[in-house]
Symmetry: C3
Subunit: 154 residues, 3 copies
């Protein structure tokens, strides 16, 4: 796998500082060669960068951008927990939660913002299994929340 930091540099992606957990939990937890990254919303410097619900307040393009930022925050916490993103061997599973109106059906197009970023940064190793669902409301009024499980090289 090529270097994720080089890929970020090439794509002009800056890894933000890891967001502070919103409650009494850890940003991530390592077990053997598995790492669980806590759910992240699209905050920037601790402030919501997007708010509202898909199908009501935001369009799919904004949702896509929000999911991309949430996934970037997941990577920031992964780096904080693992020390170095080059330790990430593979992204195994992504769960994407979309705050949505009753009739909203395009959760996959929104969560592609997270999936595309992961593939951009990790290449084929970033391709993952995924579930996307539409939920009622998210912490801080966020439109999207993203969590992931990754494997680490040993």
């Amino acid at each position: 796998m090529s270097d994720p930091y080089e890929r970020m540099k090439t794509s002009g992606i800056d890894l933000p500082p890891p967001p502070r957990p919103a409650g009494s939990y850890a940003p991530g937890k390592i077990y053997g060669s598995l790492v669980f990254a806590s759910g992240q919303t699209p905050t920037s410097d601790g402030v919501p960068a997007y708010r509202g619900r898909l199908g009501a307040d935001l369009g799919v393009d904004e949702g896509y951008a929000a999911a991309r930022l949430a996934a970037l925050n997941c990577l920031a916490e992964l780096e904080a927990v693992c020390g170095d993103l080059r330790r990430v061997q593979s992204i195994l599973k992504v769960n994407g939660y979309v705050a949505a109106s009753e009739g909203f059906e395009e959760q996959p197009a929104v969560i592609n913002g997270a999936s595309d970023l992961l593939q951009e940064i990790f290449g084929d190793a970033g391709i993952h299994a995924r579930t996307a669902i539409g939920v009622q409301s998210l912490p801080g009024g966020a439109p999207v929340e993203v969590e992931l499980v990754a494997s680490l090289s040993t």
Copy 2:
């Protein structure tokens, strides 16, 4: 464990072709002896076989049938990813998401459609831990989405 294909034959269950992922992700991902199957909705030949919300548009029996079909689609993707369902050692965890009205309380009876199918096909090895929740909306207007984690024999 007895042969899942024989059990399907006995029960008259036909494994459908694996649904195409609805976005930029994989149908499943193997890590060591674990496999993560992406969330599946009750589609048939790529078309929604059920639409709507439990507690509003569909009754529990229809929801049960939809969950059964979603789980069958999960097995189709598991087979595509693993090559052979006889490699499945055990179903570890199922998460079932039910598009539901505000007052709907029977998520477990709906997701039993997935759980019962898994036990029918894998016997005791199909009995799993589970979470069932009621969500706002699902991809393509689906009433149910099912994802799972399984272990593979090595």
Copy 3:
């Protein structure tokens, strides 16, 4: 790690009997040194101890207490599955589902009820990765559902 039973005694926490699964699944499933605990709601003796939605029927303090009870039920099922909570090495991941109104934003403060209990009982080993989301409705009209993944000492 100090003894979880001694910590519970010191804190005056009584482990309830494990709730009966609400459908055709197991209370938990062990795979190697991983254990998946099924989603639990705040029931007591099989009866809902809390009902309703956050942001509508219940305040954050009640939600916190409900999440604490749901997590205690998770530990009861973990004990039933593992035989002894002293086998739990670490709580890896918690997912907390909050039945919430459209505008509710304090899912983290609610699910802290689960996280704080786990840390109270397991100390540092109880600190976990976490995701908290707001959902439409939960089994039996519960305000909260909690599930977890833990590691076992071998």
